[in-house]
Amino acid sequence: MPTPSDRPAATAPGTGVIHDIGYRSYQGPRLGRSYATRSLFVQGLRGAFGLGRSGRSKVLPMLILAAMVLPAGMLVALTVFQQRADLPVDYPQYLSSFGLFVEIFLAAQAPVLLSRDLRNGTMPLYFSRPITRADYVRAKAAAMVAALLIVTVLPLLALYAGALLAGLDFVHSTEHLGYGLLAAVLYSVVLSAVGLLIAAGTPRRGFGVAAIMGFLVVSSGVATVLEGLSDRSGGGSASGSAADWAYLISPDDLVDRFVNHVCGLVRTVPTSIGDTPGTLGALVFGLEMLLIVAGAYALLLRRYRKI
């Protein structure tokens, strides 16, 4: 080891010297499958918001997040300004009013989670590591649901915090936040199931985005038209009528109407919000959501068994 004095002048103090220390083997811990699955989940969740990816891919998710949270702030401001005793929009209704943003987020990010791996050929790298195919599906599904939860729960919390600061009734606010959270969880799980299943079917991101958006918008539109048609023939236009069966084909209406019925919101403002066709309807809507989620998950597992 030469002392500083007999070094050539070129390596003056402060000049960096690169020492090639050669290859070092790794003796540390190797955490197992569940750690790897968690890593994949975290990566997926970060990726859904564009973190760890290019700057451009952060734009859309951040815009959506802003579009979801900012109106909540404005509503709170309105409540304070008008000294209302109640929020202008109830928590579940806030989510269904801004449902389009949630759907856009899903349509844009579900393909990011699944189609990208298919397209870039990254799957062999994952599967040559300790995780199994089922772990992969689990991690990606969890990441999608968590990302949607962030998008849906954050504005609800903003509303809630604002409501409490504005001095609204604590019990009422908390109860309705609970309804909102139920809606947020159901939206996240049901929409993720639909979105991921479609995204897993195509390595092309554009197709995935269009297919998911198309499916959600068209199914909702068709349901509304069907309801209108059967209303006219049936005569009764009240909420909770048989015509509401039409919404069985629209995933986001399923959630919306199920929550409204189960939480008893339809009784308080009966005209303006959608209901299920009676208690039996609520049961069927609930069962269908369960079926969508379980079915989509099973199909995803089957899809990835082959890759």
Binding site: Y26, Y35, N120, L125, P130
Partner: protein, 324 residues
């Protein structure tokens, strides 16, 4: 681990698909070192790698990787093995660092270790400042280096490299081959490498496993594939003052007259059977007598490609296969 224990061992490994038998009773042992897996497209190389990683079940037969059973311990095998696929597998909008860190964590390395090993490994494969840029802008050579890095980042005991020189220019190919040698010699990691470019394997591998149609054609040391033959390659100049003079024919005639067996091997090369030490003298004197220049006089070596172009000379080599 004792020196002699094989990194891969299969016994009667068979994989049948509905329409095709991809592996047929494959029994082979692979020792530590750089081992080439040779076979034409569809010979069963990729199927073998999949089965070795525990990703596809074998129809019948057994196998071990690093002493772990492929049928039941796939997850443990994959923790200790690195795999570099043949095809593109890199997301274009992510940097090499970000990507390799993620892959290290997927192999079970804690976050801090993953970062440190990523920096080390990328440096070892020769990626420096560019590792912070999105990989979409990388050259093929850089992409291959990242692919190699992600296979090495968790310090595996064995790496499976599928066509690592695909798409590289000659310089990039030499770099990659040198890197593969270093993976074994400096890093102490055993390597199983597939390629259809046989010249590369001759230079890089200690041992070659040749499969064809899912069956083992031959498994022996590279040296035994390229051992010297009893043939001399002779190449002579023309007479500068008499370009019409057929030098090759004259040499062939004289040597045949001297009792040697001679045949032309295209491109002005004559192949002469070595009868003994004196053969060299006879050729030298003959060429000098004719007033020609001797361009080449060398003992011919076998080339790996011959196993595909010729009938298999002998059946599989016996136990001395793992020499050197």
């Amino acid at each position: 681990m004792s020196i002699s224990s094989p990194v891969i061992r299969t016994d009667g490994l068979t994989k049948r698909f509905p329409s095709v038998t991809a592996l047929d009773q494959l029994t082979v042992e692979v020792q530590p070192g750089v081992v080439g897996l040779v076979g034409a497209n569809g010979a069963g190389k990729s199927t073998l790698i999949k089965i070795l990683l525990g990703l596809a079940p074998a129809t019948s037969g057994t196998g071990e990787v690093l002493g772990l059973d492929i049928a039941t311990e796939g997850s443990a095998i994959r923790a200790l093995v690195g795999y570099m696929p043949e095809h593109d597998c890199l997301p274009p909008d992510v940097s090499a660092t970000e990507f390799v860190v993620q892959m290290a964590r997927m192999s079970g390395l804690p976050a801090a270790a993953a970062r440190e090993r990523t920096a080390d490994t990328l440096r070892h494969v020769g990626l420096y400042e560019e590792r912070y840029r999105p990989m979409g802008g990388y050259s093929t050579g850089m992409k291959q280096r990242v692919k190699l890095a992600q296979a090495l980042v968790h310090d595996p005991r064995l790496v499976l490299l599928d066509e690592p020189t695909n798409g590289l220019d000659p310089v990039g190919r030499d770099d990659m081959l040198a890197l593969i040698r270093r993976v074994h010699s400096d890093f102490g990691i055993s390597v199983l490498v597939t390629t259809h470019l046989l010249g590369e394997l001759e230079r890089t591998c200690d041992h070659l496993v040749v499969i064809d149609g899912g069956r083992l054609l031959r498994s022996s040391s590279t040296a035994s594939f390229t051992e010297a033959t009893q043939l001399l390659a002779v190449e002579v100049t023309d007479r500068p003052d008499d370009p019409e003079f057929d030098a090759d024919a004259a040499v062939q005639e004289r040597l045949t007259a001297a009792g040697l067996s001679v045949r032309a091997d295209g491109a002005r090369i004559l192949l002469v059977d070595i009868a003994g030490e004196e053969t060299y003298d006879v050729i030298r004197d003959t060429v000098a007598d004719l007033g020609l220049g001797l361009v080449r006089l060398e003992q011919r070596r076998h080339r790996v490609s011959e196993i595909f172009t010729q009938e298999p000379q002998e059946t599989q080599e016996p136990a001395d296969a793992h020499a050197v």
